[in-house]
């Protein structure tokens, strides 16, 4: 049986979709299919690859709109998933394309530098004694050391797709959390402040990065840990952080979100006041009633005690 690969080509500002047919063999990866095309049909098709063992991260592409490591995803499994005999192969999303399936990493490395991406050891360490830490301390960040910089996490990032200038790439957040959680680092707050300044709270929480990471690193989870650290390290909060805090506080205040006050708590009276036309729109269809009192959960004392006890545990 053949698979038809519709490959998105891009050569010197010219874009087109080229179809190739490749005989499917058992265990064939998408990368092997691409190599088959290059060796037997079209030497002009360009893509990157190296280790072919899911380690180097060089071969990620989009298949039917989803980022995949082409050296590990099997053609037969994809045909089964999409119930088709045709797959669409594109370069990773949210990257500048250099040619065909090759994307430009230079702008991404420049963005990575925004977070001061190197561990600076505490003064107590020295070349003689090393930078020792306990297994427990190591376990706090070891997962995030597994990033292979393949770029899959950013390919379908919804925030990046709209505007990357005031946000970072998910792998940058992973790197940042690795540094912030590393007990050997001299100034975790410096990395954290840089991340917050570069758009931490603008994440849509769409979970695309976590769904696409081939190493299971959960970049969306790393973003949540960084957010939590901004409170633990007492960074001043902008609207995103204030909004999260308002929701968190509502659980202890009444047990439920108080929608009518969320904007005031998040943005302040003046900004919230500018939203009056929206409030009127909602009142008009009965979605908001400023005269309605907000109910308080009958078990609010227990709920407050749960939150307080948990907070004490994390102090």
């Amino acid at each position: 049986m053949d698979v038809t690969l519709k490959v998105h080509r891009f050569v010197e500002d010219r874009k087109w979709v080229q179809e190739y047919k490749v005989p499917v063999t058992v265990g064939m990866t998408v990368l092997e299919a691409l190599i088959n095309i290059k060796e037997k049909q079209d030497p002009t098709l360009l893509f990157t690859c190296s280790c072919r063992s899911s380690i180097c991260g060089a071969c990620a592409v989009r298949v039917n709109g989803n980022a995949e490591l082409s050296c590990e995803i099997l053609v037969e499994n994809l045909l089964k998933r999409y119930n088709t005999d045709t797959l669409e192969i594109e370069p990773l999303g949210n990257f500048r394309v250099i040619r065909d399936l090759i994307v430009d990493w230079d702008p991404k490395y420049a963005r990575l530098k925004k977070i001061k991406p190197a561990m600076e050891p505490k003064a107590e360490f020295s070349p003689e004694t090393g930078c020792k830490q306990s297994p427990e301390e190591f376990n706090k960040y070891k997962k995030y050391a597994g990033c292979i910089l393949c770029g899959s996490c950013v390919s379908e990032c919804n925030k990046n797709a709209l505007n990357e200038k005031d946000f970072l790439d998910p792998f940058v957040f992973v790197k940042a959390e690795k540094l912030v959680a590393d007990s050997r680092d001299r100034d975790p707050k410096a990395h954290l402040q840089a991340v917050q300044d570069a758009g931490l709270w603008r994440c849509f929480n769409c979970q695309e990065c976590t769904a696409k990471c081939p190493k299971g690193l959960d970049p969306a989870g790393a973003i949540e840990k960084l957010k939590e650290a901004t409170f633990r390290m007492r960074l001043s909060q902008d609207v995103g952080g204030k909004h999260a805090k308002a929701i968190y506080d509502d659980i202890s205040d009444s047990g439920m979100l108080d929608e009518s006050k969320l904007n005031i708590k998040s943005e302040g009276f003046i900004m919230a006041g500018l939203r009056l036309p929206m409030a009127l729109r909602l009142m008009n269809v009965g979605k908001m009633n400023p005269l309605e009192s907000h109910p308080v959960n009958p078990e609010i004392n227990t709920i407050r005690a749960i939150v307080k006890t948990a907070e004490k545990e994390t102090e």
């Binding site: 039917n64 709109g65 989803n66 998933r81 999409y82 919804n158 925030k159 709209l162 505007n163 709270w201 603008r202 994440c203 849509f204 929480n205 769409c206 979970q207 695309e208 976590t210 769904a211 299971g216 959960d218 949540e224 840990k225 957010k227 939590e228 409170f231 902008d238 609207v239 995103g240 909004h243 999260a244 929701i247 968190y248 509502d250 659980i251 047990g255 439920m256 979100l257 929608e259 998040s266 929206m278 729109r281 909602l282 269809v285 009965g286 979605k287 959960n297 009958p298 078990e299 004392n301 227990t302 709920i303 749960i306 939150v307 307080k308 006890t309 948990a310 907070e311 545990e313 994390t314």
Partner: protein
């Protein structure tokens, strides 16, 4: 069929029509909903970014009440489902964490411990898994209606937690639309995130994507967009005018809660399902 129902905050507030239509539809198809007594907010995908352990303990409490009722939990909100299932997944896979959280519940005076005995599901999954629920009950096949099914994010991802179907190629919503007699329409922005959770922090981008989603469904000639998430529904419905402005579109498309579309197919009127509480495109939905 009986479930411990976790409505979530917006069903008791701005999306109250989602609550009433859910009650009516479930009654008609033979699902008994018993609301979890004194439930609290799931954290709305934000609380864990302030204090993760507190957010986890609050959801352990929610789940433990349903466990005491001896019932599986059902929600009709993507984010509530994700928050509750994430808590369950973490507590079930880490005995030490479970002990710690149960210690917090006990110290705070909560009468129940988290056991891990109640499954957590979403209304869409229940309808998809139990097709007999709708069998012979569709009295108004929506054969003239072209429906753009918009999943939203949290019912699909992360796969490890939301493992009902393949999140990279979901089909449950399309199957349901067809079961109701309507035509499922493919549209290019189907998999984009509506941005609800960043509406304040990244407002301009969120309004742009709101406009893109509605415009894309309109270009695919959809009569309505239907979603299993009340947060997506609110974002697309409430901000549809600003979304139009952001992408210079003229698209006006009604945005339905999943249970409203089911209600229509079961013969309910627009008023029955609370369609009069919608902000956008009320006049565009024509049903006999």
């Amino acid at each position: 069929m009986k479930y411990a129902f976790f409505p979530g905050c917006v069903l008791k507030g701005a999306a109250a029509e989602a609550y009433t239509s859910m009650q009516k539809v479930c009654e008609k198809i033979g699902i008994e909903l018993v609301e979890i007594e004194n439930w609290t907010c799931c954290g709305a995908s934000h609380a864990q970014g302030v204090n993760d352990l507190a957010a986890l303990a609050v959801n352990a409490r929610n789940i433990s009440i349903a466990e005491h009722m001896g019932l599986p939990i059902m929600t009709v909100c993507n984010t509530c489902t994700l928050q509750l299932r994430t808590a369950k997944h973490r507590l079930d896979s880490d005995e030490k964490l479970k002990e710690k959280v149960n210690g917090i519940l006990k110290e705070a005076g909560h009468p129940y411990q988290y056991q891990g005995t109640s499954e957590i599901t979403h209304f869409l999954w229940v309808l998809d898994k139990h097709s007999e629920l709708l069998k012979d009950k569709v009295t108004r096949p929506l054969s003239d209606l072209k429906v753009a099914g918009y999943y939203g994010c949290h019912i699909l991802r992360p796969q490890e937690i939301m493992d009902y179907e393949d999140g990279k190629h979901p089909q449950s919503l399309e199957r349901l639309i067809k079961t109701l007699g309507a035509k499922s329409v493919e549209f290019s922005a189907k998999r984009k995130c509506c941005g609800f959770h960043a509406q304040l922090a990244a407002e301009r981008d969120v309004l742009t994507v709101t406009g893109q989603i509605v415009d894309s469904a309109d270009k695919a000639q959809a009569d309505v967009i239907v979603t299993p998430c009340p947060l997506c529904q609110m974002q697309l419905d409430m901000y549809e005018p600003e979304g139009r402005e952001a992408v210079h579109s003229r698209a006006e498309v009604p945005i339905l809660h999943l249970q409203q579309l089911v209600g229509f197919a079961l013969g309910m009127s627009k008023k029955d399902v609370g369609f009069d509480r919608h902000v956008s495109a009320q006049e565009k939905l024509k049903l006999d």
